[in-house]
Symmetry: C7
């Protein structure tokens, strides 16, 4: 668990191609496959679902998320 | 799907000339054709419609959107 | 429409001397003639009218607007 | 009107020694003589009056205003 | 009045050793003797009193104030 | 106690591999094992539990926390 | 009093090893021994107590406080 994580971005790098939970300011939650990220923590997720109380409220497909509004990012396998 | 996306801005580059959904802080939503973007995620959209609950509430035509207020950008074909 | 817009600031450059609608955080709206802008999206507008529900609520003449509070800028010809 | 304004700060430069209306986030309004400004839009005003609904609510004399909280600056001659 | 103020920080420099009124976001007000400032408008004040409706609500002595939360700084002799 | 802490990041460095309490804006609290941090105070925590009133409300496993939303970080041994 | 304070950070340097009161946005208050600080005003405090209305509400021990949320820092000897 958490092998090879020296810097925070290593976790994002390890999560490429995997499903992640992204929690935003204002309590918005998204689940999707992490395709890309940058040092501003801008993300591209694929197959994005917006979630509320464990239910899908919106399907967004491929989406660019600005890093600025993100609180945390958690690989979904460990978050559920 | 999501082919050739190495960095988050690649999705914006791939979406030029296509319709995108832009979701802002304060729950404002816009749909329009992506004409230009920069590294601050400032956008120019054309044929912009402001949306609320799936209805067009305002037509804005060609519009400059400041990146600072953006939460996510989703190509409309995948978001609807 | 949108000819020659490669970067977002190109739209502002094309709009110099024209009337624009500027929408600010906190739902303030201004209409005025765009005189100048910079990379922070600070603007100078002339003949500024503050608008609310389509009515002029205040006449401000020549005004400096800080870019920091701007959500979008739309040439008024396309916004009305 | 607006002659010689190529960049937004030119309006501030032209307004030195003149009365300006400064509108801040949180709907605070000040009127005073612009003495100095910098690229952060920090200002020094003299003979500052805080205004509310067209009435003077406080006299502050010489005052340093942080640019960070400013929404707009309008030469008072054009704003009233 | 306001002699020798070319840049906003000149007012702070002229106010060293003098009593100033500092007004913060969230409507907090402090009065104290300005000891030091930097380009971020971080301040050190001495003999600080927190004020509310013209009454001292707290005595803080020597205090470091982060510039980030400051709205305005006014030499107390002109502000009262 | 606090031996060898010359700069704030030294405490984070000393806490690697240990359980920490992380308190976020909006009163969110997380407890987890600190795996990595950077100069933006972005963190990776493992075995993350979201806490509310001393109870675990959510288990997140391995999680990336953006530094931007953090108020304080306290080694859990000293915080409980 | 306030001898040798040329720049704001000098007060923090003089307060190392001493008890300080730290007041945060959102009206959180902490008292603790200042161990370290940096130019972002990130702090490490030891023996931290969270205070509310003059009562200790939480003991945190050794804690990293992000500078971003700090309003003021006052040596406790002068603040109480």
């Amino acid at each position: 668990m958490a092998n090879g994580i020296e810097r925070p971005l290593d976790l994002l790098n390890n999560s490429k191609g995997k499903e992640v939970l992204v929690y935003l300011k204002g309590d918005k939650q998204f689940v999707g496959t992490l395709m890309a990220f940058d040092i501003h923590i801008n993300l591209v997720l694929d197959n994005v679902k917006q979630m509320s109380n464990g239910e899908v409220t919106k399907s967004l497909g491929l989406t660019f998320l600005r890093g600025d509004t993100i609180i945390y990012i958690s690989p979904a396998s460990t978050a559920l």
